[in-house]
Amino acid sequence: MDIDWAALSSVFGVSLGVSVGLVALFTLGIAGLSRRERAVAQGSGSGALAVTGAYVCFAACAAAVAYGIYLIVA
């Protein structure tokens, strides 16, 4: 009997790192969007920086999803 500890721990590490990273990115994106929402509501600027940051975050998430689809297809 041979337990593949290397594969198990790499699955563990990758799952943990990628999901925490993705969730963090996405949450930051959402935080950026809602900061813009607040800024517009209060009339204090357009929050352009927050929105740009948010879209960068979302783009990174979209890239991760695309890579996921690539993994499924390949």
Partner: protein
């Protein structure tokens, strides 16, 4: 040759039936969190999952090939053995659906195959070491990996997003959940529809209809994809309710964190060659997300029942598979008897399920049985306190029977005779 192709036809139909129960059983994995947090309407969610499962079925035949090429020695297997294995797997899937517990369809299929093989070729035909490395370790690892990932991502999303509210946050969590649920559906289609394709191809090879080493024919791919999509669309609402509401109460942030961790763990494991069951991964990530929120609870009694079901999946399916194999060996009428038994049991389980219908209209409702026994359920306790105890039919019967003896004193026969003068 006539009877030969008949048994093959039976195996193919049974395999497609298994594929259907598989889709039915595993809709919850992709869509339970999406439905319970309200990101998608129940019907829309299952339709989306069905389409993605169908698409996934056409993406590759790699998994199918690992089953039909080399996993088992096809020279020693008769189509009846595969048939018996499928009977065990289908019945276990239907039974767990009836009680609303998520369990791994792959384990059920593996259990059925192991049982039928033992009955056919003896215990030595199964490698114990493979059983531990391929079944036991992943079953323990999957919920831990996904659970810890879900827990940490939930913590993080609450911390980073504590200032986000309003429309933007709501829309964002919805979109994130839908995207990750879509990925899970797609991965499920490529994995599980292909398992059935592999089984059908294996049956066709053992029956001599295909040359050993062939790829699955197109009609096999199409029918397996359609069967799993129909199953997914009809939706195992009972399991969706357990997964989305029964284990813990999910807010949109938690649903998003759970589904993202699940999608990541599934893809990472299948890509790195340590295959984890979709069901185990999603259950783990949902529980992790439940623990990750401040004040969040996991209903451990439901979780314990689910773990017990996981432990029983393989032996139970193996037992049925072995019994079915033993009966098919009696000859053609034995095979017919097993087929009749399968259809009758499935019909009986469906009939029992109609006593308490769970569908898209009440999938997000409370589970009365679970809620009552949970110490954490403050609301249910309060409800139980204010709800008057139901009028029991016994008292009604009593009041109904009380007037009956009333005429008794009137009847002169019962009055003691007056003393004679």
């Amino acid at each position: 040759m006539e009877s030969f192709s008949l048994i093959l036809a039976i195996v193919v139909i049974t395999a497609l039936a298994f594929d259907f129960t598989n889709g039915f059983h595993d809709t919850a994995n992709a869509m339970a969190t999406t439905i319970s947090t309200g990101a998608l309407k129940p019907k829309v969610a299952v339709a989306m999952s069905a389409v993605l499962n169908l698409v996934g079925a056409f993406l590759s035949v790699e998994v199918a090939n690992t089953i039909s090429k080399g996993l088992v020695d096809e020279s020693g297997i008769r189509p009846e053995v595969i048939f018996a294995a499928l009977v065990g797997a289908i019945l276990w899937n239907l039974l767990t659906w009836l009680v609303g517990l998520p369990s791994s369809s792959s384990h059920a299929l593996m259990g059925g195959l192991i049982g039928a093989t033992i009955a056919s070729a003896g215990v030595s035909a199964v490698h114990g070491g493979v059983l531990i490395t391929k079944v036991l370790i992943p079953a323990i690892a999957a919920p831990l990996v996904a659970g810890i990932a879900g827990l940490l991502s939930t913590r993080l999303t609450y911390r980073l997003g504590r200032k986000s509210d309003g429309k933007a946050a709501e829309k964002g969590h919805r979109a994130g959940q839908i995207a990750s649920a879509g990925l899970v559906s797609l991965a499920h289609g490529t994995n599980d529809a292909q398992k059935t394709m592999g089984v059908i191809t294996l049956a066709l090879i053992t029956g001599g209809a295909l040359a050993p080493g062939s790829n699955p024919p197109t009609w096999v791919i199409v029918s397996a994809g359609v069967a799993i999509a129909i199953g997914t669309y009809l939706g195992g609402w009972r399991i969706i309710r357990t997964m989305g509401k029964g284990l813990t109460d999910l807010q949109p942030q938690q649903g998003f964190a759970a589904q993202t961790s699940a999608a990541t763990a599934i893809l990472a494991s299948s890509h790195l060659g340590f295959s984890l069951s979709t069901t185990h991964v999603v259950s783990g990530s949902v529980m992790g997300a439940g623990l990750g929120r401040k004040g969040g609870v996991v209903r451990w009694s439901t979780a314990t029942r689910m773990f017990i079901a996981w432990g029983l999946t393989l032996p139970a399916a193996a037992l049925v598979g072995a019994g079915a194999e033993a009966v098919t060996r009696l000859g053609d009428w034995g095979t017919a008897a097993v087929a009749v038994f399968l259809v009758a049991s499935s019909a009986a389980i469906w009939k029992i399920s109609r006593r308490e219908i769970v569908d898209h209209t009440n999938v997000n409702g409370d589970t009365p049985v679970d809620g009552a026994e949970e110490p954490a359920g403050v609301v249910t306790q309060a409800m139980a306190a204010v709800t008057p105890p139901p009028a029991s039919p016994v008292t009604e019967e009593l009041t109904a029977t009380i007037p009956a003896p009333a005429p008794a004193p009137v009847t002169p026969a019962t009055t003691p005779p007056a003393p004679a003068v």
